[in-house]
């Protein structure tokens, strides 16, 4: 396995009496899309600030590409904070140049790259506009460009899709995927589980300053599967329930004339094949699917176990 692009080992961060992070360890593999999940106030922003070297951990270590985190790394990281903004009175182009140069690009390269991005997003006309003339979505586009302009190896997006209309959200999503194809690693901090479902390879879930879950999305889903299936068939509901007997528990049923829909959970060591063998003689199967827990379910189940 290659060296992770970012690794946190047992990081603890305390503000006064408040523990923001408690022994948190994460690994972000190169080239992956990593989801940093957790309810508000869980400690996500504290962790992101440590990655960006805005603050330093009180205990534990952080590594970038295998090396202990140091100031030179900031030019290899791009960060789009959730609370983001621009100088309102400054012109768009001038402001982009300023922020790009702060990230270590020289004047000429910055200008060239900005021109390319402005063309790509078809916003060349904004160069001399003042930021206060832009709409929120327009300003977000500019911020996105500034974040990715210096082609960082690691990109951190904190709720990147808020404020975008669906068209622009798609545009940004495609750009993010393109960046990944070109070798960048991406960390998402988000509440939007559909984003996680759609984009993330791995996640870490932080709650109350502690990491409570992490791993590949596929593995986590497998881990959280409950042997629950949804099935449609034509036949007699009574005959069907009799045939199930103790092999499966019926969670939900619906019948319209001859057409039945059921949700069931396999019991014990029963397999789908056992089930099929039992019911095939008495009904005509139309569809059969495993009910896979959504990330949203997993999130809620993990964060609030008592409700379960």
């Amino acid at each position: 396995m290659s060296v992770p692009i970012f690794e946190a080992r047992d990081i603890t961060k305390v503000y006064g009496n408040y523990v923001a992070l408690n022994n948190v360890s994460i690994k972000v593999e190169k080239g992956s899309i990593f989801g940093l999940l957790g309810p508000n106030g869980a400690g996500k922003t504290s962790l992101i600030r440590i990655i960006n070297q805005i603050t330093v951990p009180d205990q534990g270590e952080a590594f970038f590409n295998g090396e202990p985190l140091k100031p030179e790394h900031v030019s290899r990281i791009g960060y789009l904070p959730e609370e983001r903004g621009l100088y309102r009175k400054m012109q768009v182009g001038e402001q982009c140049m300023y922020l790009a140069q702060l990230k270590g690009l020289d004047h000429k390269t910055a200008k060239l790259k900005l021109r390319n991005w402005f063309e790509k997003f078809e916003i060349q006309g904004w160069w001399n506009k003042k930021v206060e003339e832009l709409s929120k979505g327009m300003a977000q586009k500019v911020q996105f460009i500034v974040t990715v302009l210096h082609e960082p190896e690691l990109l951190i997006f904190d709720e990147p899709f808020t404020g975008f209309d669906p068209v622009n959200a798609n545009l940004i999503r495609d750009e993010i995927l393109e960046l990944r194809r070109n070798g960048s690693t991406i960390i998402f901090s988000t509440h939007r589980m559909e984003t996680v479902e759609e984009l993330c390879d791995s996640i870490a879930l932080i709650n109350k300053s502690q990491k409570i879950l992490d791993g590949k999305v596929a593995d986590i889903k497998r881990e959280f599967r409950t042997n629950t299936y949804k099935m449609e068939f034509n036949g007699n509901m009574l005959g069907f329930t009799n045939a199930l007997w103790a092999g499966a528990e019926l969670l939900d049923r619906k019948q319209v004339d001859n057409h039945c829909t059921v949700t069931l959970r396999l019991a014990g060591n029963n397999t789908v094949n056992n089930l099929f063998a039992a019911i095939m003689p008495i009904c005509e199967i139309i569809s059969f699917n495993e009910v896979i827990p959504s990330m949203s379910d997993i999130f809620i189940r993990t964060v609030q176990p008592d409700i379960q």
Binding site: I54, P71, L80, P81, R84, K89, M90, L99, L102, Q143
Partner: protein, 440 residues
């Protein structure tokens, strides 16, 4: 260019390019020049001549009253009632009536003299007319005692003691009046510059925080770099403004002196006046000119080579000291409205030194003045007030050293508060919390 350099550049350029900067740069010297020039100019401009009719029934001032640029006297014999009825229509401003001489009593007569006015009479005009009449009565009284009027005039005009102060250390010092004015102006300028540009630092920090751009920037640079970049950038704006003011004011002053005053002071004219001196009026003019010349000499005698660098040092030092604290306040709050409770304690020493300036002027080398000019929180203003009176170089050096130490200390503390504050949104910290941030 380093990152701090980039920040300084942005802070500087965005402010210098503002229209308000240009406006202040032009208006500043114009206002200062106006304060110096307008009174002189006003005096020289001929406001419409006021004609005053004189009805002298006693016959002792007719044709004798001296006129000036504003007031001209005309004499009449027409009876009082008739004169008054046509006074306004004939274009006269007022009428002086001296009644018939009775019982040879001058004291009685002078109480009977009246000034009838057709239009509102200004104080200066009343004083001028009264002065002229009094001179004639004086002459009359002297005459009755057998004294020659011209002799008295000459004696009076030749008495004028300038009382020049010559310090014992050999250097020719400037006059007390000039020192006081200079000290006061220096102190006021420092006071306003610190407040003006310190507030700009604070507003800039609040702007970055409320815009939420601060988190983007501090993912590229350290908070300390951002804070120092801002403070230094605005310091350069202040210096630019000050230097432009010095140059512009200097130019206006030089041009004005070159055209208006020089003409008055040219040595030819002086000599001409000297030759005329036997007749009394010219001597008066000559004295007046000499005073103006003395003032001009005093201005040029001031040690500008010391004053201007010291001003720049104390402006920078004071500004850095307070600017860092203003930055910390800006970082700790969410909006300008929340700054009030922190502003007052922080600016109290500044206001105190401004208030104490008058006391210091009265005793520029007293122990209060010395201490206030060494304590870094008050020294920028107080030292500027004291400097024109001459301060021993060891005191200046001590004060400068303390100021440097002071702003290093406040910048260090401010950076800690700033660093924590800029990432906190939504709540106004208390003093206690801010002190705790110092330990983070």
């Amino acid at each position: 260019m380093g990152k701090v350099g980039l920040i300084i550049r942005r802070e500087y350029l965005t402010r210098v390019r503002k229209k308000s900067f240009l406006l202040m740069t032009i208006l500043g010297p114009l206002i200062m020049a106006a304060i110096m020039i307008v009174p002189v100019w006003m005096a020289s401009v001929n406001v419409s001549v006021k004609k005053v009719l004189v009805l002298d029934e006693a016959g002792f001032i007719e044709g004798l009253l001296q006129e000036n640029d504003d007031v001209k006297f005309f004499y009449t014999r027409t009876p009082l009632k008739k004169s008054l009825s046509t006074l306004d229509a004939d274009g006269y401003f007022a009428l002086v009536h001296v009644p018939r001489f009775q019982e040879n009593d001058i004291n009685h007569l002078q109480r009977q003299i009246k000034l009838y006015s057709a239009k509102q009479v200004s104080l200066s005009m009343k004083l001028f007319v009264r002065n002229q009449i009094e001179k004639q009565i004086e002459r009359l009284k002297l005459q009755s005692q057998g004294v020659d009027q011209d002799l008295v005039d000459n004696v009076k005009k030749s008495v004028n003691v300038p009382l020049e102060i010559i310090p014992l250390d050999g250097e020719k010092g400037s006059g007390v009046e000039m020192n006081t004015a200079l000290g006061m102006i220096g102190g006021i300028l420092i006071y306003f510059f610190i407040f003006l540009f310190g507030a700009q630092v604070m507003r800039g920090v609040i702007e970055e925080k409320t815009n939420r751009i601060v988190e983007v920037i501090i993912s590229s640079v350290k908070p300390f770099q951002l804070m120092m970049g801002k403070i230094l950038g605005i310091a350069l704006v202040g210096l630019t403004q000050f230097l432009l003011w010095v140059i512009l004011t200097g130019t206006i002053y030089t041009v004005f002196m070159g055209t208006v005053v020089k003409e008055k002071l040219s040595s030819d004219k002086m000599e001409a006046l000297m030759k005329q001196s036997p007749d009394g009026t010219a001597v008066a003019d000559y004295d007046e000119l000499k005073q103006t010349q003395q003032m001009v000499n005093e201005v040029s005698r001031i040690n500008w080579g010391l004053m201007i660098p010291c001003f720049i040092f104390y402006f920078l030092g004071g500004y850095l000291l307070y600017g860092a604290m203003f930055a910390a306040i800006g970082g700790a709050v969410d909006s300008e409205a929340d700054t009030q409770q922190f502003m007052l304690p922080v600016s109290a020493p500044l206001i105190l030194s401004f208030v104490m300036a008058q006391t210091v002027l009265n005793d520029p080398n007293g122990s209060l003045a010395v201490w206030l000019s060494i304590i870094p929180f008050t020294s920028p203003i107080i030292m500027m007030v004291r400097l024109p009176f001459g301060v021993h170089y060891s005191e200046v050096l001590l004060s400068m050293g303390m100021l440097i130490l002071g702003f290093i200390l406040t910048t260090w503390a401010a950076a800690k508060i700033y660093r924590t504050g800029i990432l906190m949104y939504g709540k106004r910290p208390t003093w206690k919390e801010m002190l705790r941030w110092l330990r983070y």
